[in-house]
Amino acid sequence: MTGEYVDPWDGRLHLESAHALYLHVPFCVSKCAYCDFTSYATAEGDARMGAYASALSRLVEEAEAAGLLEGFRTAYVGGGTPSLLGPEVLSHVISTVCAGRGLSELTFEANPESLTDGLLDACVEAGATRVSIGVQSLDDDELSRLGRVHDSARAISALDAALRSGLDVSCDLMCGIPAQTGASWADTLSRVMSMGVRHVSVYPLMVEKGTRLARSVEEGEEVVPDEDEAADRMVEAERVLGEAGLRRYEVASYADAGHACIHNEAYWTGVPYLGLGTSAASMLTAEGYLRARLVCPDLPEPDPSWVRVRLSCTSDVPAVARARGLADLAFDVEGLTSREAAAEDLMLGARMMVGIVPALAYHARATIGGGPVDSTFSHLVSEGLARMTPEGGLEPTERGWLLGNEMYGELWDLAEGTIAHSAR
């Protein structure tokens, strides 16, 4: 076997369990103007939320017992608005997940209006290590146009409380939003930095069809800055955050050394994860999927060509709340061949600042073929979207960051065949 190179990427394609856990909490006080997610408007104390959260805890325990979470390292409670569950309910979910497992990271999402000292204390106590706060802006006019519930003062006090709690704090911000100017954006960024936040996500606004914002734009009541302006804001964010020591490590994510979100990195690097709750997404290896079928016998039989399976939970909130076990949930199932999985990993790898690492590039050449992979790489380089690294990887340029879809699309085209799709 001398001289034979081992494909170091291949290992993650055969992990038999999920290494990350995602729990989805689809409740909000009200729907924001730009949001097109499935969400249920409710208020703190709503009994439906308690029933839903208990179901999540039950499902986590069953998944664990079934070996689906063997050795999982990170968890993320996202939404929606998890903080709306309140201290008691949310901390109960978190403690079920953490329960003496020594996770390296447990993040929960929170919106400023429901992020209280009491909630923070309860979650820290339960084992949370990180909180991600939906601040979006520190300009009151911008916030109200987005249909956010909080104002800038509430956002600042929430950030302040979170930082005092000892949790790792991440702050979500939006750019390219109505009424935002270069100056107001710089102001939001520098105020967040001056508070000592070490992780920021910057999302340029997308006007999604069917949202309230889309209607206002159509009716001429609201004006959304054009893509050129949004690009300026993204560049400005990189500059201001960079000056404060935060480095962009993914399209939308900035962190100080050691503060990157490990859980989110799993999404971009082919690490399997299990998502539970209404419209939660999972990615399992073919082996992991076979384990899942032991507890969910109704899941469709996998095609022998599948190496990766993506699932999306289609059960609504009442269905999840009544679920006695995983077998009661419904999923959309999508299988990927080795070629498709490799193309997907390339597409996702290109989102990362480190780009397509040499191990992945090697795996892709072995799976898809050196010819097509190298010709796509050279084309991306010739378009100025990426550059080759000395080690044989490919990393995005600043242009490849701002025009990412162009690059991701070309990489995904390497999959060629269509995705098998079935539903249960």
Binding site: A266, S279, W412
Partner: protein, 613 residues
């Protein structure tokens, strides 16, 4: 649907013409011709009330949607007249738009009379005059009918005077009708009975039947509408097409009421359909004469003028794999619409397509829409052109219908283009507006006559190439819809013409070139550059758009490079969602044409069809 008593009545002795009346209904567009036809069908119980629908004779969706008649139709109506006799009326509905005047002339050749419908609120308009003249030239008895008399703004007396003055027709007995309420329809049918002469013809002579229309039925092959001038035609006859020489056995004959009802034969003077069983549409030519194979008539029918296309455009499938489908579609469409011509054309930008000739702009729109609808094609039409005569320095003349074929300027001595005699009828308050517009379109004024105290008829001489540049739309809008237009082809004359090229990222796009009068090139180049800038989406690189004449750049605009296109949101690891978005973006690109490295949406090719400078 049709009660059997009619089936008995239509079996009239085939050698008796005295009870047959063949007539057309002619009118300016929108004067209510189709509604009057509807009322005639209704009042003669040809169609039961419950089966009645508007514009019954216009069977194409596009006709109903636009409220226009494109195809002729011949329907048989049995009318019990006040004299106690039953008459066979063959009513031929004809198109009203100027583009389709060839359809009108074809139908008129099959008639002895014409009902001339004039709107009581609008009066005589341009096509009232030209259609009436066509009918008079065909020696038809004209029965004037003043329509829409139920409207408060109706002025039957003024219109009566206009008919007498403009058409020199006795109009004191013009029938006043309302297609809407049905008032006067009985009087109109009586007038037809009395005024329109029965057909003349020899029942014992060899068969002589004129094909006035045809269409392709996928189950029964080619079906022709014919008018029998002499003899008779019946199922089982072996007949010959006189112009093309082919023979076929008649499978069935009958009449349309308006559904097809088979009859034993079609006798002298009658109008009806013939199922030929032929599968090749090209064998049946409208205007051809059908006779018996073993006992042919001496000479074919006269009175048919073949249509000549005046406007040309390139038609290209958006999906290049649909080229063969487009060819098949054109092959089939030409049976229904013999006025179109087509030859293969290749474009660097658009691939394989056809150069198609039409009678006019409406005709072009209609054909394109029919091809797309009836044959499920997605087409791009390039800028319309006329048939230019380009004289080379060596004295040779070449006919150019596509800007692509234009020889190099250095080889051209001069260019001639078709001119028109244009007639515009308009209330006199709009004379100034028409003057401005027409002079701007290189029209030269000839003269003007008053048709009534406030209505004038202006005569112009102008290039067809200018008329097809949205002259009609602008004329309508500048006269608040009052102007009506008609034209006839005149001779070719020299014009100062140039080829205007559009360059995208430095490369000339053949499909965006067109031929234009030199003095208009700059303004048009400028407005196109601006318009294309709005239409062409941002690309990864900057795209300069240039307009050039003979290699010299006369206008320019730039589509800035796209700076941002990235889906940043995480969606809780929902990667399928991200992938779907990328796939959707890719689909969007597929609908565009890649010209060189530039993705160009279809609208860019449409932009050059509309001028608003």
């Amino acid at each position: 649907m049709i009660s059997c008593s009619y089936a008995i009545i239509i079996l009239m002795p085939t050698n008796d013409c005295t009870h047959i009346r063949n007539f057309s209904v002619i009118a300016h567009i929108d004067h209510g011709k189709s509604t009057i036809c509807d009322r005639i069908l209704e009042s003669t119980h040809t169609v039961e009330e419950r089966d009645m629908e508007e514009q019954l004779l216009d069977s194409m969706d596009i006709e109903r949607e636009r409220g226009i008649t494109i195809k002729s139709n011949a329907v048989r109506v049995m009318y019990e007249a006040d004299d106690g006799e039953t008459y066979q009326f063959n009513l031929i509905d004809t198109p009203g738009h100027v583009d389709f005047s060839y359809e009108v002339s074809r139908s008129l050749a099959a008639c002895e009379g014409a009902v001339l419908v004039v709107d009581a609120t609008q009066g005589v308009e341009a096509q009232t005059v030209s259609n009436a003249l066509l009918a008079m030239n065909a020696n038809l008895e004209i029965v004037p009918a003043i329509n829409k008399i139920d409207l408060p703004s109706a002025e039957p007396e003024r219109v009566r005077a206009e008919i007498e003055e403009a058409l020199a027709l006795p109009a004191e007995d013009a029938v006043c009708v309302s297609g809407k309420t049905g008032a006067g329809i009985h009087d109109l049918l009586e007038a037809v009975t009395v005024l329109v002469p029965p057909p003349a013809g020899d029942a014992d002579a060899p068969l002589k039947a004129l094909i006035i229309d045809s269409w392709f039925d996928s189950y029964r092959g080619v079906i022709a509408i014919v008018r029998v001038f002499d003899g008779r035609i019946a199922a089982g006859d072996t007949v010959r097409l006189m112009a093309l020489g082919d023979t076929f056995d008649v499978e069935e004959v009958g009449c349309k009421r308006p559904k097809q009802i088979a009859t034993a034969d079609l006798g002298v003077g009658e109008v009806g359909y013939v199922v030929t069983g032929l599968k090749d549409p090209a064998l049946i030519k409208v205007g051809d004469t059908i006779t018996l194979a073993d006992r042919p008539c001496a000479s074919p029918c006269e009175g048919y003028r073949e249509a000549k296309p005046m406007v040309f455009t390139g038609l290209f499938p958006i999906d290049t794999e649909q080229y063969e489908n487009l060819r098949d579609a054109l092959d089939k469409l030409i049976l229904n619409d013999p006025a179109i011509t087509y030859t293969p054309e290749t474009s660097v930008a658009l691939g394989f397509g056809f150069r198609v000739g039409f009678l006019g702009l409406l005709h072009m729109e209609v054909v394109k829409e029919r091809l797309e609808r009836e044959f499920d094609l997605d087409l791009i039409a390039t800028s319309p052109s006329v048939d230019f005569h380009v004289f080379l320095s060596n004295g040779e003349m070449v006919e150019i219908t596509s800007p692509q074929d234009m020889p190099d300027v250095t080889r051209i001595d001069h260019i001639e283009e078709p001119f028109l005699k244009v007639k515009v009828i308009v209330p006199d308050t709009y004379v100034g507006a028409v003057m401005d517009l027409t002079v701007d379109h290189h029209g030269s004024f000839e003269d003007m006559v008053y048709l009534g105290p406030k209505t004038v008829e202006m005569h112009w001489h102008m290039p067809l190439s200018e008329l097809i540049m949205d002259y009609f739309d602008q004329l309508k809008s500048r006269t608040k819809g009052y102007a009506s237009l008609d034209y006839d082809l005149d001779e070719y004359q020299t014009s100062d013409l140039v080829k205007l090229d559009i360059l995208l990222a430095g490369e000339a796009v053949d499909a965006l070139s067109f031929i234009i009068h030199r003095d208009k090139a700059y303004a048009r180049g400028r407005s196109l550059c601006d318009k294309l800038k709005e239409i062409i989406p941002q690309q990864l690189f900057e795209v300069p758009i240039q307009a050039a004449v003979g290699g010299r750049i006369i206008a320019r605009s730039t589509v800035r490079a796209r700076r941002k296109d990235v889906l940043a949101k995480c969606y809780g690891g929902d990667i399928s969602r991200k992938r779907k978005l990328l796939e959707k973006q890719k689909e969007g690109k597929k609908r565009m044409k890649a010209i060189g490295s530039v993705e160009v949406p279809q609208e860019a090719f449409m932009a050059i069809l509309k001028v608003d400078d």
